[in-house]
């Protein structure tokens, strides 16, 4: 099996996610972009697993999913707290922690 197409797709998705994190101000969207990056990585893992015929990549993908789920719980809680105090979900406005 030729993994190139899968890896290219994974790269494209990762790039979209990264650009989303960097460009979007809305915390929810930025958050979703992070998920995109994680899933791009998952795709690469699974592809590797398929190519080498081992289960390591699958295991790693599961780990990533579990971590992502946990991250969603904490991340959303933070976003909601910020929204409640500031009436906005913009990541640029929460910039108190600076010089």
């Amino acid at each position: 099996m030729n993994p190139n197409a899968y890896l290219v797709l994974s790269g494209i998705i990762f790039s979209i996610g990264a650009i989303g994190v960097l460009l979007r101000r809305n915390a929810i969207v930025a958050f979703m972009s992070v998920e995109l990056m994680l899933n791009a990585a998952n795709l690469a893992f699974v592809t590797g697993s398929r190519v080498w015929g081992t289960l390591d990549g699958q295991t790693a993908a599961f780990f990533v999913m579990v971590v992502a789920a946990a991250e969603v719980v904490v991340g959303l809680a933070i976003i909601i707290t910020i929204f409640r105090t500031r009436n906005s979900a913009s990541v640029d406005e929460a910039s108190l922690l600076r010089w």
Binding site: V21, L22, L23, D92, A94, S95, L96, L97, R98
Partner: protein, 619 residues
């Protein structure tokens, strides 16, 4: 047993100093008791020593082993050497010391804290006795420093007076220069001979190379110059007169300042081995005796004039000590007679000051014999003794020094002869200004004779000043007494002794006549229009100016420039480094914007950089 001589005053000083005001009531009496006890023990030892034949007289007492490094073969005992030389000093120190203790009872009666004064006096007596009884140079050094400390404490006894505090400091610093010489000499001895005891040095110096005796001689001379106020370390002695007068009499006339002479005579074997060092000693003595006499002749302050005289008389002793075996005995003889007549004159000066509200200006004295009979008589005896009128003490000791100096060289002889004339002049001047002339007292001054406790020591000392010369020189008793220790060679002057005596006495007579003729009329205020010699002498022959320009100013300049260097370079570097770091961080912290997206950007860029780097390495 001889240790008790030192222990008694040392213990008394310790009690008086550590128990403080509780000992105020009996303090002075305890101090007098300790000093008297010391004298009696010394006298007992002296009588025992006289009873023994000459070769059995020296006795060594080891009190305990003081320092010991077995691996290095280094051992110094706390040992006391009692011989003819040291017992002479013990008797002089304790006898004059006791009398001055008694005198202080009257003199310090109006002082706030006589107890502390007496404690220091006892401390001094103990340290001075340790100095003359030590059997090695290191122990001598302990006593040497001890008397320096006591001198410092007593010069600055009235420490509330800034002049006294400064004078004490000056004496301490000038002495430190001399002590430097002594400590270097001790180190040299240890390196060369492996021992610092007198006996080892004496036996070792015989085979030692010439440079050893020369180095040791010059270093010991430096030490003697510091302690004995000889040129070029003389300037502290005149200022030391800020101390109470009994201190000036005991420490800065009779005993401590003669420690340098003792050191030279004690180190006779070293000086005998080096002619250059001996010549240096003679030259130092000659310069000092003339300088002291010139300074003494120009001062109007009675104590400073006497201090110049002390410097001059010690110059005689140092000169005699530099003459070698022909002079050692006479140096010590003059030291002892000087101890008596100079002490009596200082005590007389103290008595006069006591009577005239602590005035020291001789221009405001005069007319005192009527009111101060005993002071005048005793001072007059001291005067006759110092100028060398037979049969008073100074005649014998000084005449012998003149004979010895003449047999050494014409210039040494000329210096001591001229010095004798100057001595006669300035002492006559002092006598005229203080006693003989009409009274020129300040208006509120009502002179009165001093109390018995002050008169009595003066009478005893004046008896000594009158008779000591005959007693010690009759049948050459003192020469025979000291000969086993210092060696003695009869001086062979180029002229017959009668001629020398005649010349000396005529020089003295000329000095006296000039002194009388110049001081028939005495102005109440010192005249301003005077010759340059008098101007220079009033300024201590520029001793202080010399020290200030040669030592003090360059020293201050050095500290100033070091201070500037420290501020500019050292501080500049440290402060600059700090400024640099804080400046950089002030700029760097701008990158902490607080925007999550910019942090994310730096993570992405960093990762990209890492990936590129890894790929490059792989390739």
């Amino acid at each position: 047993m001889i240790a008790a001589v030192i222990a008694l005053p040392a213990l008394s000083a310790a009690v008086l100093l550590s128990f403080g005001n509780r000992t105020n009531k009996f303090g002075p009496w305890l101090a007098i008791f300790a000093s008297t006890g010391s004298f009696l023990i010394g006298l007992w030892h002296f009588l025992q020593m006289v009873a023994r034949p000459a070769e059995e007289r020296p006795a060594l007492t080891t009190v305990y082993e003081w320092l010991s490094v077995p691996a290095a073969g280094f051992k110094i005992n706390f040992a006391l050497q009692l011989d003819q030389l040291s017992i002479s000093f013990v008797l002089l120190i304790t006898f004059v010391g006791t009398l001055i203790h008694i005198y202080s009872l009257g003199y310090m009666s109006h002082d706030e804290n006589p107890r502390r004064f007496f404690a220091y006096l006892n401390l001094f007596v103990a340290a001075m006795l340790l100095l003359v009884l030590a059997d090695n140079y290191l122990l001598l050094y302990v006593g040497w420093e001890g008397v320096g400390l006591a001198s410092y404490l007593l010069i600055g006894f009235w420490q509330h007076k800034p002049t006294a505090a400064v004078a004490a400091k000056k004496a301490f610093v000038a002495n430190r220069v001399g002590d430097f010489g002594l400590s270097l000499a001790i180190m040299t001895m240890f390196i060369v001979f492996g021992s610092v005891s007198f006996s080892d040095v004496n036996s070792g110096i015989v085979d030692a190379p010439a440079w050893v005796s020369l180095t040791l001689g010059l270093l010991l001379l430096l030490a003697a110059c510091g302690k004995s106020a000889q040129f070029p370390l003389q300037s502290w002695l005149l200022d030391a007169m800020e101390g109470p007068t009994p201190v000036s009499a005991l420490i800065h006339a009779a005993t401590m300042v003669t420690a340098g002479v003792y050191l030279i005579v004690r180190s006779a074997s070293i000086f005998n081995a080096s002619e250059i060092a001996q010549t240096a000693v003679v030259i130092t003595g000659a310069i000092s005796l003339l300088m002291g006499a010139i300074i003494g002749a120009a001062k109007d302050d009675i104590k400073k004039s006497l201090a110049g005289s002390t410097m001059s008389q010690i110059g005689y002793m140092v000169l005699a000590a530099g003459l070698g075996p022909i002079g050692y005995v006479f140096a010590i003889l003059h030291l002892i007679t000087h101890g008596f007549f100079k002490a009596v004159m200082f005590l007389g000066a103290g008595s006069v000051m006591h009577a005239t509200n602590d005035n020291v200006d001789m221009r405001r004295y005069g007319g005192l014999p009527k009111v101060m009979f005993f002071t005048t008589i005793t001072f007059f005896i001291g005067y006759l003794a110092i100028i060398g009128v037979p049969p008073f003490a100074g005649f014998y000791s000084k005449d012998h020094i003149i004979e010895a100096a003449l047999s050494h060289s014409w210039w040494a002889g000329a210096a001591v002869l001229f010095g004798a004339g100057l001595t006669a002049f300035y002492m006559t001047r002092m006598m005229m200004m203080t006693f003989v002339s009409k009274s020129r007292w300040h208006e509120d001054v009502h002179p009165h004779e001093s109390p018995l406790s002050m008169i009595l020591p003066m009478i005893v000392l004046s008896v000594g000043a009158a008779t000591m010369g005959i007693l010690l020189t009759r049948n050459h008793v003192f020469e025979h007494w000291l000969e086993p220790i210092t060696g003695f060679v009869e001086p062979e002057p180029p002229l017959p002794i009668q001629t020398i005596t005649t010349i000396t006495l005529s020089v003295v007579a000329i000095g006296v006549l000039i002194g009388i003729w110049q001081n028939i009329k005495i102005a109440k205020v010192a005249p301003v229009k005077v010759s340059f010699v008098v101007k220079a002498a009033r300024k201590d022959l520029y001793g202080d100016v010399l020290n200030e320009t040669l030592l003090m100013r360059p020293g201050q300049g050095l500290t100033k420039s070091l201070n500037i260097f420290d501020n500019a370079v050292v501080d500049g570097f440290v402060n600059g480094l700090g400024l640099f770091v804080s400046g950089i961080s002030a700029r760097l912290r701008r990158s902490e914007t607080g925007y999550v997206r910019s942090y994310a950007m730096s993570i992405v860029l960093g990762t990209a950089l890492l990936v590129i780097a890894l790929l490059m390495v792989r390739i």
